[in-house]
């Protein structure tokens, strides 16, 4: 009984402290390399939406880099409230290694927590001087390919699996032939950046290579940034269905007192307004009506999935990108 005053003081202090800081909230979105422009536009829309809904001002800070590197940063203590990474394996790593969110995180939002999709296309120089139309054109002598390091970049992992999936489809799922194909592809890669944005700079700004294996949205952005007269986008007949997922980092958000706004931030990615923003930034929206509206921006192609072709991300990661995996076996720095 005699400690009631102390407990009361503590409770009042907590309320007082919270009240003193009410009205403003900040989120940290840790994302992969090419989403800067998407989230810059989306954050403005969400802040407006959240202000109208809750009355609070929300400031969203962004952090971008190679998806694998970003996941490792969160595991090492980067205090992300939400992660919007290139592939589910990277968020699984955060869940498994740092226990910052539950293992079933992907089931908490629609479409396996993937509000938009994308794929891997080819960005070539104007006139496509090397005549690159499909994945097998990449292994021709004299073709120089620019792509990021799949050890650190999510987009590069999608690109690698896109090429591998093409080989499996082409050679009747003969894994030895597919491995030989991917070896030849990476023999034509003179340099590996750590992230997708870096490889865009290498190709478009530094003038290296004949073809950039790029996220579809990144290819469009490169055209926009560096001149549509200088580059062409080639969509191969077959590529990989890239599904970049999103998740609240529960423990960080709880500690920051941002759980509600973080959840709303991700849920709003499925809203009509957000789906329009995603489509305008050349991410393939989930909403069928909005996807139809922007159909001209997204050529039809055969899209294979990691689950169907590689048995899921965990298996694909272990087989191809873990230390000593296929990539380590076939890639020799030049």
């Amino acid at each position: 009984m005699k400690y009631y005053p102390a407990i009361l003081i503590a409770a009042l202090a907590l309320v007082f402290s919270s009240a003193a800081n009410a009205g403003q909230v900040a989120l940290l979105n840790v994302s992969y390399d090419p989403t800067r422009e998407l989230y810059q536009e989306y954050n403005i829309a969400f802040a407006k939406y959240w202000k109208a809904k809750s009355g609070d001002e929300v400031t969203i800070n962004q952090s971008h880099g190679g998806s694998g590197k970003q996941a490792q940063s969160v595991i090492n203590g980067l205090e992300a409230d939400v992660v919007t990474l290139a592939l589910s394996y990277d968020i699984d790593s955060i869940a498994q290694q740092a226990k910052l969110l539950p293992a079933n995180w992907q089931s908490r939002l629609p479409d396996n927590s993937t509000p938009y999709t994308s794929t891997i296309v080819f960005l070539v120089r104007k006139g496509n001087p090397k005549g690159i139309k499909n994945w097998d054109d990449l292994i021709k002598p004299g073709v120089s390919i620019v792509v990021a390091n799949p050890k650190t970049s999510g987009g590069a992992r999608w690109a690698y699996l896109g090429a591998y999936a093409f080989a499996l489809e082409t050679y009747g799922h003969d894994d030895a032939k597919a491995k030989d194909f991917i070896t030849k592809v990476y023999k034509n890669v003179p340099i590996l950046d750590s992230g997708a944005r870096g490889s865009t700079i290498t190709f478009a700004q530094r003038g290296i290579g004949d073809v950039l294996l790029a996220w579809e949205n990144e290819a469009h952005l490169a055209q926009k940034e560096f001149g549509a007269d200088n580059f062409e986008i080639i969509t191969p007949p077959l590529s990989i269905l890239a599904e970049p997922p999103v998740a609240v980092v529960d423990k960080n958000a709880k500690r920051h007192g941002t759980t509600d706004v973080a959840q709303a931030y991700l849920q709003y990615l499925y809203s009509d307004e957000a789906q329009e923003i995603e489509a305008r930034n050349f991410y393939r929206p989930r909403n069928p009506a909005i996807a139809a509206k922007y159909a001209a921006n997204f050529p039809q192609l055969k899209l294979v999935t990691v689950d169907a072709e590689f048995g899921g991300w965990a298996k694909a990661q272990q087989t191809h990108f873990a230390d000593g995996g296929v990539f380590d076996q076939i890639y020799q720095p030049q």
Partner: protein, 492 residues
């Protein structure tokens, strides 16, 4: 053939240039620029050749053109690889632990700043010279190491701070502060361990930044360090701070000689609110104004250990103690309104304190009384060299460097303080020789050689009146105390 030789020269030049890049980063930019110029010159030649070929009706790419393009790509790849290597090196450097050594001490930090350890320290070498004390005061003219404290602070897992401060300046090592602070946010922090009780303004000021060698008489009436839990924080952008603590309970200001031991089951409550309403104002003359109030409450149970071991003069002589058969017995509360004003080189700090304690005499004839002691002080300062005075010290604009005519910062300081013992303490509860009032004025000059080194000199005169306990004036209180203090301080 001429073009071929030119191309071969370019290859050799490019490759040797890139090799040099790895060896000498400083020359890399110049080398790369040179290579770029060479490549551009070659491209121009190729363009000219291509135009000539086009004019001649030839559509096929000449071998020379292909070779130049191939070389161009190789140079570009080498340049880009160099950029990526530099970036990777920069990223790796960011991931390394950081070590810093500067005026704020030694600091070690993990790359992500989640783990930080800092080493600070305080050494104070004092002298006290008592004048005209032959007939009365017992002060000894002496040199002493007043404080010798390594200060270990740090942060673990981002939100948990720790402080550990032992002192080696006395007869043996004593732990002054040892606590862990969890900071959820600036406005909500919880501290546990041994720390300063959140009551007195002067008491809470860091030892290295007090105006005089010793704190004033008003600090005699507030608790010093205690053990327990404290909830505290700064809110409204630092314009308000609060602290609420539950503690073992401590007597009026004493210097701990050992980790405080609780003497009863009851706990003390202490709290403080301090406001700086104009801290973020545009009006500079208002920014340094702060005021607040601290207080505490404890129910003491028949123990002499809850009574002060003696109210001290500036010269650290006890001028008032309770008699041997007196115990604390009942409520003990304190209240301490306080404030300061800092504007440019001017500083003013004032505090008033009441310590009200129920006491009993345990031997016949038994007696009880409520003893309400009061004290106040006011301290003013002026930095002659113009630097800003603050509650957290003075930073000289021109640190001491006589070779370049720099002499640090100089501050004149003055203080008046008074402590009044409740008249009901006499003659039953006060010890023989205790005075009922002490009044002290002090003046001095402080020389801040730099942020870390300080030399002080001050004079303090304390006069005593009343009291006398059961045996009249004692040797300490019979005559005024006159003390000249000096101090050499290293604090970082």
């Amino acid at each position: 053939m001429k073009l071929k030789w030119l191309l071969l020269t370019a290859v050799v030049g490019a490759q040797s240039g890139i090799t040099a890049l790895g060896q000498d980063t400083n020359s890399s930019s110049a080398d790369i620029d040179a290579l770029k110029q060479e490549v551009q010159a070659l491209e121009q030649k190729v363009n000219t050749l291509e135009q000539q070929q086009a004019a001649q009706g030839s559509s096929a790419q000449s071998p020379e053109t292909a070779q130049v393009q191939d070389l161009d790509q190789k140079v570009r790849v080498l340049q880009r690889q160099h950029e990526l290597d530099q970036q990777a090196a920069a990223d790796a450097a960011k991931a390394q632990p950081k070590i810093a050594l500067n005026a704020n001490g030694f600091s070690f930090s993990s790359a992500d700043s989640n783990f930080v350890a800092q080493l600070h320290g305080v050494i104070q070498v004092d002298s006290r010279s008592f004048f005209n004390d032959g007939g009365g005061t017992l002060g000894k003219n002496t040199f002493l190491v007043r404080r010798a404290r390594p200060i270990f602070t740090g942060t673990v897992f981002h939100d948990f701070d720790f402080v550990f401060i032992p002192d080696f300046g006395g007869s043996g090592p004593v732990i002054y502060d040892a606590y862990v602070n969890y900071h959820y946010s600036p406005g909500f922090q919880v501290e546990a361990g041994r720390f300063k009780s959140p009551v007195g303004l002067e008491s809470l000021q860091q030892d290295v930044w007090t105006t005089f060698n010793e704190r004033s008489l008003v600090t005699d009436l507030v608790p010093n360090r205690d053990i327990g839990f404290e909830l505290h924080g700064d809110v409204f952008s630092g314009r308000a701070s609060y602290a609420a603590a539950i503690l073992n309970g401590a007597p009026d200001y004493i210097t701990p000689v050992a980790p405080a031991q609780d003497v009863d089951d009851d706990k003390a409550f202490a709290g403080r609110i301090f406001l700086q309403p104009f801290k973020t104002s545009d009006e500079a003359f208002l920014q340094g104004f702060g005021f607040g109030v601290g207080g505490s409450y404890e129910d003491d149970r028949r123990t002499a250990a809850d009574l002060t071991t003696g109210y001290k003069t500036d010269g650290q002589q006890s001028f008032y103690t309770y008699a041997a058969n007196i115990v604390a017995n009942g409520a003990h509360w304190r209240i301490a309104p306080q404030g300061y004003y800092y504007y440019g080189p001017f500083s003013l700090l004032g505090e008033y304190a009441i310590s009200d304690q129920q006491v009993s005499k345990t031997t016949a004839p038994v007696a009880s009384a409520e003893i309400r002691n009061k004290a106040w002080e006011i301290t003013a300062g002026w930095v002659l060299t113009g630097e800003n005075a603050t509650y957290n010290g003075i930073t000289p604009r021109h640190p001491f460097d006589p070779r370049n005519g720099q002499w640090g910062a100089w501050q004149l300081v003055a203080r008046y303080a008074d402590l009044n013992i409740d008249k009901d303490a006499f003659p039953t509860f006060a010890s023989a020789g205790s005075a009922s009032e002490a009044a002290a004025w002090s003046a001095g000059i402080n020389w801040f050689l730099n942020r870390d080194i300080r030399i002080d000199a001050s004079f303090s005169r304390t006069t005593f009146s009343g009291g006398g306990g059961t045996a009249g004036q004692g040797p300490i209180t019979a005559k005024p105390e006159n003390v000249l203090f000096t101090r050499l301080q290293l604090g970082f």
